[in-house]
């Protein structure tokens, strides 16, 4: 079980709980604004873009090369960007706060 907090681009804060799947799937299931997950999580649409605050970055690990290449062309992308479909939910993510990019 992991508690995950999303902060939308309208500054709304929503905390939800998940046990399995990806962070993108959890966000879509909870209708979190700004996470669409168009491609279902295969790293081809970037409609699941989030920013991970520095203090939580060791929880998420680093983006793969393919994920980085995808983010390179995204508006609002920076060092803290991740595609949330590439973040698997586990205990390790408990308490994390994610800022939705779009």
């Amino acid at each position: 079980m992991a508690k995950i907090t999303f902060i939308t681009s309208d500054h709304e804060t929503i905390t939800v709980e998940g046990t399995s799947g990806s962070v993108m799937q959890l966000a879509v299931k909870n209708n979190i604004q700004g996470i669409d997950g168009d491609c279902g999580g295969v790293c081809s649409c970037a409609t699941c873009h989030v920013h991970v605050p520095t203090e939580f970055q060791d929880k998420t690990g680093k983006a793969s090369e393919i994920e980085k290449d995808m983010l390179e062309f995204e508006d609002n992308a920076n060092e803290s960007s991740r595609l949330s479909c590439q973040l698997d939910i586990s205990e390790a993510l408990d308490g994390i706060v994610l800022h939705i990019a779009n």
Partner: protein, 385 residues
């Protein structure tokens, strides 16, 4: 090689040079072949524009047969974004439960009918009706209208041998004119009426703009969906074990759809016009000349996809560009994905296997490249579960 295979004709040139060349209506094209370059060029709208003369970024060029600008497709930012925002929510309707239920009903009916027959010619008797009926949902118009579109056959909108033949394209343009007239007289809840009623930067969309959106919706969503559906049937006919896999692991259906779309790349490439002298892969591109973003080639780039010429239904990382890339990415993708997802679910549920009886490939010619994009005809027999 299996009959359902879609070979990659671009591999050698992609590796050796990165770009291919072709000429068409005396307006040559530099074809961009590598995944990274395709994405980069798609992103750089300042250098590679869509808002050129209407019809010019389409290959073969439609400059000689069309004056109406397709919207939002033949616009660049920031104008593009303003128009796209207008229609974006509408094109997300396939995510609604009621829409999905109706689509499922339609596809179940088509598969039931196919199962009841000895032989089915998939392109004209399965994919075309499926695509046409599904489009009534996207436009939110009566189901009965699909009969008209089916009656046009598969070779409408463009003369196969003569890209300068206006008469084919006019069937669609005249039809849309009549539909717009009707929507003006009797406004409803359909896409025509919604567009006629929407405002951009303080003015109501004018008739030509509405027509531009509608032409694009019809033309962009027809052959692409027909090829995706037909190629899926051919693939499952050749790979009964894949149907079994989806039956056993329904969770992979979403990934399977992405992988089939990657492999098929139903739209081979799309053009742009250079706004300045520039280069791609050290190849000079002159201002006011054309390039094409070759989605089909990028999808087989071995530097991004492991075993690119194999269909791996549960491929986990799949940054394919079959729906384009960056701001012009396909508006119809939600609808197309929902169609394929439903098709796979219904096939897995009702069909044990499919016998391939006869096939005639549809091979496009782009300069020296010959690419199979689908089938002219394919006869099959469906076996029930």
């Amino acid at each position: 090689m299996k009959k359902s295979a879609i070979p990659d004709p671009f591999e050698q040139t992609r590796l050796e040079k990165g770009v291919g060349e072709m000429n068409e209506q005396n307006d040559p094209i530099v074809m961009v072949l590598r995944h990274k370059d395709v994405r980069r060029c798609a992103h750089k709208w300042q250098t590679f524009q869509s808002g050129a003369q209407p019809g010019r970024i389409v290959i073969p060029s439609e400059v000689a047969i069309r004056d109406t600008r397709q919207i939002p497709f033949e616009l660049d930012p920031p104008q593009h974004g303003a128009y796209r925002t207008l229609v974006e929510a509408w094109f997300k309707r396939p995510l609604q439960e009621a829409y999905q239920a109706q689509l499922s009903q339609q596809i179940n009916a088509i598969v039931d009918e196919a199962l009841s027959r000895d032989q089915v010619e998939v392109v004209s008797e399965f994919s075309l009706p499926l695509q046409s009926r599904a489009l009534t949902l996207l436009l939110n118009i009566p189901y009965s209208e699909a009969a008209t579109w089916i009656s046009w056959g598969t070779h409408v909108f463009r003369s196969e041998d003569d890209p300068l033949d206006k008469s084919k394209a006019n069937i669609l343009y005249d039809y849309i004119d009549r539909q717009i007239d009707q929507a003006i007289k009797n406004p409803g809840e359909d896409l025509y009426s919604v567009l006629l009623n929407s405002e951009i930067e303080g003015h109501k969309l004018n008739r030509e703009e509405v027509k531009g959106v509608m032409i694009l919706t019809f033309a962009g969503g027809r052959d692409t969906v027909i090829n995706a559906v037909t190629n899926s049937i051919a693939y499952f006919a050749d790979h009964p074990e894949s149907l079994e896999l989806i039956r056993k692991q329904p969770d992979i259906t979403g990934k399977a759809v992405e992988e089939l779309i990657r492999y098929f790349a139903p739209l081979t490439h799309m053009g742009r016009v250079a706004t300045q002298d520039t280069q791609v892969c050290e190849h000079a591109v002159k201002a006011d000349s054309r390039i094409s973003l070759c989605w089909a080639s990028a999808n087989r780039d071995a530097s991004v996809f492991e075993n690119p010429n194999e269909v791996i239904l549960d491929r986990k990382i799949n940054p394919h560009v079959s729906f384009g890339f960056s701001h012009h990415n396909c508006l119809g993708a939600t609808h197309a994905r929902q169609i394929l997802k439903t098709l796979l679910q219904v096939l897995a549920q009702k069909v044990q296997s499919i016998d391939l009886l006869a096939t005639e490939d549809n091979i496009e010619e782009w300069g020296n490249f010959k690419r199979k994009v689908g089938y002219h005809q394919i006869n099959v027999h469906f076996n029930a579960k």
